[in-house]
């Protein structure tokens, strides 16, 4: 019974994504782009760098990079915390 529900959910989701999604998407190669056109035109004067992606990551969207650094820190601390040999050996 649970298998039938799982297959039904998967097939309905895939049909919706392939058919319904592509009627709502923009054609490939012509994205709507007013904000990105402003960033491409003004990145050399305002941020002073030739690399527009680097200027977006550290200057226009710097707050997201701060959040990403926090997630990286938390994940590394999680790995170092889980993988410690336990101090008391339990006798089973």
């Amino acid at each position: 019974m649970r298998q039938i529900f799982a297959w039904l959910f998967l097939i309905v989701l895939m049909v919706f994504l392939v058919i319904g999604g592509f009627e709502m998407m923009h054609p490939f190669g012509e994205p709507p782009s007013t904000m990105d056109q402003y960033i491409i035109d003004n990145a050399q004067e305002e941020a002073g760098s030739n690399n527009v992606v680097g200027a977006v990551v550290f200057d226009y969207r710097g707050f997201d990079t701060l959040g990403e650094a926090t997630v990286l820190f938390a994940a590394v601390m999680g790995v170092l915390f889980v993988l410690r040999a336990s101090e008391k050996k339990e006798e089973t």
Binding site: A47, G48, V57, F58, L66, F73
Partner: protein, 152 residues
């Protein structure tokens, strides 16, 4: 591993370090930046772990030193972000000043390293953080599956 693999790996680590630092520090001129350069140096450390075994690498890369490098990278990032607090939180206050303060001409040009404002400092901070973090995670995984644990 055999003697050829160990010798070649220890000689190649110098080139990997130089290439990784080049990608980190030229992040505002060519494609690259902090995340990509940090991943390059961390993969060099993984090459050393595979060649020499995790028991020998554990004596050089202790957990406290890696944790200090990672925390100092995060602190440098936050300090540089707070230094422009006069206008707004992440303000680029070094554009047009004397440190890293050139402005490139509009359009296609051969790149100049002495541009970019606050971006090269942030690249260095994120590069330190990603290097130390990924090396510590892989070293902890390698040590745990061979039965020892990381030294304090």
């Amino acid at each position: 591993m055999s003697k050829i693999v160990r010798t070649v790996a220890s000689q190649l680590m110098a080139f990997v370090l130089v290439f990784g630092l080049y990608v980190i520090m030229h992040g505002h001129v060519t494609p690259g930046g902090g995340f990509q350069g940090g991943a390059i140096i961390a993969s060099g450390v993984v090459m050393l772990i595979v060649a020499f075994g995790s028991g020998q690498i554990k004596k050089f890369l202790r957990e406290r030193r890696l944790s200090m490098v990672e925390s100092s990278g995060a602190l440098l990032f936050i300090l540089v972000a707070f230094a422009g607090i006069g206008t707004v939180f992440f303000y680029n206050f070094l554009v047009g000043s004397r440190i890293f303060g050139g402005i490139p001409p509009t359009g296609s040009n051969p790149g100049d390293v002495w541009t970019g404002g606050v971006i090269p400092l942030m690249n260095l901070a994120v590069g330190l953080k990603v290097t130390a973090g990924l090396s510590a995670a892989v070293l902890a995984l390698a040590l745990f599956s061979s039965g020892e644990e990381m030294e304090e």
